[in-house]
């Protein structure tokens, strides 16, 4: 059970980094950290003690595997996370070129 709580702590650190930091790159980093925590949580849910990776061996006896379904879904999630990060970094570069800073409190035009 301790593993789950440490995983939640990692998620909380990511959320705090998104909320409290003014720098856009720090916000992107916080997003990445919380995403790692979520991915890890699903893999932790599918783990079984004293088991093997879900790859069938030659004699075909499926003995004791970890759950392959969360692994397949998180494989999709990791690749989508790469796309999201690339898009956020592109927007950050664009904002830097327009305002000359990464600090979100100095971008006056964004305040409604």
């Amino acid at each position: 059970m301790t593993v789950y709580f440490l995983c939640f702590m990692l998620f909380g650190i990511g959320i705090y980094c998104i909320l409290a930091k003014a720098n856009i790159v720090k916000k992107i980093i916080g997003f990445g950290i919380s995403e790692y925590a979520i991915n890890l949580f699903f893999i932790l849910l599918g783990y079984r003690v004293k088991s093997e990776a879900p790859i069938l061996v030659k004699d075909g006896s499926a003995v004791n595997f970890v759950d392959p379904l969360p692994q397949a879904l998180i494989l999709t999630s990791i690749v989508i996370g790469l796309g999201i990060t690339a898009l956020m970094v592109a927007l950050a570069i664009r904002l830097y070129e327009k305002y000359g800073t990464f600090d979100i409190s100095k971008m006056r035009s964004l305040k409604g």
Partner: protein, 176 residues
């Protein structure tokens, strides 16, 4: 069981360093260290496909983030209203942990997965798809439409990056 906790504590330390360090480039590299720890964790949790993918994606994210931070003038963050954010963050964390404890009581204990769907996939993977790796059998065959959606999202994000970054070039050309 202990080794998962140790790697996770190291990842948490890396995340705190990435959050609190002033230099942006060092922060990005600390995020890379967290990603490598995650890859190691996947390997320990018997998920080798995920470990390889996480390694590749982590290197790509590192390259993209370094491209964003390098050469930009890095200014010091001056502390302002940190206390308010700390209080709200702590309240959020306590609430989240409380609901997490409530939810974890309904889940199976760590190390004993239920495998309602997973055992069926394992049993049918060899006969239906003739793929040895069950994970690739699921993503390419049983859940092929999920992978189609993934590729669509990836393509859309590449289109978004191109359209956002290309505007600056067009504008610079007009300025000249």
């Amino acid at each position: 069981m202990l080794v998962f906790n140790i790697v996770l504590v190291l990842m948490i330390i890396g995340a705190i360093i990435a959050m609190e360090i002033k230099d942006l480039l060092s922060s990005v590299i600390a995020l890379g260290a967290v990603g490598m720890g995650l890859s190691l964790q996947f390997l320990l949790l018997k998920a080798p496909d995920l470990a390889i993918t996480q390694l590749v994606v982590e290197i790509l994210v590192l390259v993209i983030l370094i491209r964003a931070t390098i050469g930009r003038n890095i200014e010091k963050e001056y502390p302002k209203n940190k206390f308010r954010y700390l209080i709200s963050g702590l309240i959020f964390l306590i609430l989240f942990l409380w609901f997490g404890i409530k939810a974890l009581n309904d889940l199976p204990k760590f190390g004993s997965a239920l495998m309602n769907m997973g055992s069926r996939y394992i049993a049918e993977a060899k006969d239906k798809t003739s793929a040895v790796n069950v994970v690739s059998a699921i993503i390419l065959d049983f859940r092929g439409y999920d992978t189609l959606g993934e590729v669509t999202i990836l393509f859309a994000s590449v289109l978004g990056v191109l359209s956002v970054l290309r505007m600056t070039k067009v504008k610079k050309r007009i300025d000249k």
